[in-house]
Symmetry: C2
Subunit: 272 residues, 2 copies
C-alpha cells in the first residue's frame, strides 16, 4: 500500500466581466447553428481545462447584434488543473478573438448565481445625431427624423419608476410578470451622439429597444410626453412604436451591490 500526497485543491467559482462587440454574434446565449459569445468563451476554457466542459452562467441574455461593455458571467472551475485566477484572465484575453475581451475576474462564493443575485443593470443606447461613418455605424442608430434631445428627456421622465411594462415587451412568456423598476433614465449628448442610459432592477426581453423606439418617436415630435404615459398605461405592445435596432444598445454593467447600482454614473460613449 502506498501513501501518496494529494494536495487538496478546492473547486472555485469565478465571476467574469466581459466586453464584446456583438456585431458577429447571435447574442450571449448558445444557439444552434449561430456563433454566440458564450460558446466562444466556453470553447477556449474547454481547451485549457484539459477538455473538461465548463458552463458559464450569464447574468442575462443579449440579443443578436447587442454589445456589452461589462457583461457578467460566472463559472465553476474544476479541481484540476488548478489555474490561478490571473492566469485564467491572461490566457483568455490572449486566446479570445479581438471582439471579445475579459474586463475583470474575481472569486465569488461557490453558491453565487450570476442571474439571480443581480440587483440591477445599466444599459446605454446610442443615438447618432450626426453622420454615419464606417467607425460608428455598428455602434449607433441614426433615426430618419431629426431628434430633439430635450423632447427625449421629457418623455423619458414618464417611464421611470415601478410600472407594468407590458407595452414594451416582445415575445413575452405567459408566466413572467412585466412589473419592473427603472430608477433613472439619463440622456447625455457627447459630440454627435445622444447616449440614453437606463438604470433599473431588471429588464424584459427587448424592453430597452422598445422603450428607445418610443423615445425616438418622442424626440422626433410624433409623441408628446402625455402620449408616452398613455402607451405605458395601456399595457399593450400594439400601442407602442417600433422597436429600435440592436446595434445601438450596450449592456454597461451588472450590479451585485445595491449601493453601486444607486451610485452608477453614465459613462458617455460606450464604444471607446
Amino acid at each position: 500500500m502506498s501513501l501518496e500526497y494529494t494536495p487538496y485543491v478546492p473547486v472555485k467559482r469565478y465571476l467574469l466581466e466581459i466586453s464584446y462587440d456583438g456585431t458577429n454574434y447571435c447574442g450571449w446565449q448558445i444557439q444552434p447553428h449561430s456563433p454566440s459569445v458564450q460558446e466562444v468563451i466556453q470553447n477556449r476554457m474547454f481547451k485549457f481545462y484539459d477538455r473538461q466542459p465548463i458552463h458559464l452562467i450569464g447574468a442575462s441574455r443579449t440579443d443578436t447584434g447587442v454589445h456589452a461593455k461589462r457583461f457578467a458571467a460566472s463559472f465553476l472551475a474544476p479541481e484540476r488543473p488548478a489555474i490561478p485566477m490571473e492566469r485564467i484572465f491572461k490566457a483568455l484575453n490572449r486566446q479570445l478573438p479581438e471582439d471579445i475581451k475579459i474586463h475583470s475576474i474575481r472569486e465569488v462564493p461557490l453558491d453565487f448565481h450570476a442571474r439571480y443575485e443581480a440587483k440591477g443593470k445599466a444599459y446605454t443606447y446610442v443615438v447618432n445625431l450626426g453622420g454615419l461613418s464606417p467607425f460608428n455605424s455598428r455602434y449607433s442608430w441614426k433615426p430618419i427624423h431629426e431628434m430633439d434631445v430635450e423632447k427625449i428627456r421629457a418623455a423619458s421622465h414618464m417611464l421611470t419608476g415601478t410600472h407594468d411594462f407590458s407595452s414594451f415587451v416582445v415575445e413575452r412568456s405567459m408566466i413572467d410578470d412585466a412589473v419592473r423598476t427603472i430608477y433613472r433614465i439619463e440622456t447625455q449628448v457627447v459630440g454627435q451622439f445622444c447616449c440614453v442610459t437606463f438604470i433599473g432592477n431588471g429588464f424584459l426581453y427587448k424592453m430597452i429597444r422598445c422603450l428607445m423606439g418610443t423615445l425616438e418617436a418622442a424626440g422626433s415630435g410624433k409623441l408628446t410626453p402625455a402620449d408616452v404615459k398613455e402607451i405605458l398605461e395601456a399595457k399593450n405592445r400594439l400601442k407602442a412604436p417600433e422597436t429600435a435596432p440592436p446595434n445601438g444598445l450596450f449592456l454597461m454593467k451588472v450590479f451585485y451591490d445595491q449601493q453601486e447600482l444607486e451610485n452608477y454614473r453614465p459613462e458617455g460613449i460606450p464604444f471607446l
Copy 2:
C-alpha cells in the same frame, strides 16, 4: 437615312472623399489576391456604369490595416449612362459594405489629378493610454510602456519643418528624394486616447508609422528630444526605433487648397 436626336452628355470627372475601416483590406490600392478598398468601389461602379470599367485615381496609397476618415480619389464618368452626381453618391453608399462609406462627391476639372494636385495631407495616429476594448483595439495602439504625453510633444517639435526624412522611410525607392515639410505635429489627449496629428506637404512610405515609433520611444523616456534630432539628422533608417503598427493610423484629409491645409484643426478621436 434617319436623323436621330442624340443629346450631348459630356464626360465628367468627380472627386470622392471616402471613409474606410482598413481592418479587412490590404490598403487602398489594388493588389493581386488581397481585397483592397479601390477594388471594392470600382467593382460597384462597374455594375452601375453598364459594365464599363471605371478607374479610380487615389491621392496616395494606404498600408494594410490603415484607416481613412477622408481619403480622396477621382474618376472619369463615362458619357453613358449619364448618372447625376447625387445618384452616384447615394447608390454607392447603399451598395458599399459597412466598412466603406462615401463622405462627399464633387465635380472637378477633367484634367484634375488626385495625386499630383494634392497640396498636403493630415494624418492622426491614436495611442491608447487606457485599457484595450473590443471597440478600440482595431483603431488604436497600446504601447507596452507608460506614455508621458509631454515627452511626446517635446520630441515632436524636433520633427517639424523641412527635412530629409531618410531615417523614417521603409522600402524607399532610389529615385525618390526624402525631403518633405511637416508644418505641424499636434498632440491632443481626448479621454483615454492621445491623438497625434501630422500635417505636411506629403509623406513617404510608412513615414508616419516610423515617426510614431520614434515618438513612442520618446514618450516612454527611452529617447530625449536631442536623441530624436540626432536620429533625424543621421538620415539612416537603422538609427530609428521600430515602426508603429498600422491600426492606430488614420488618413484624416487630403488638401487641394493651401489655405485649407494651413487652417486645418485636429479633429479629436477619428473613429467616431
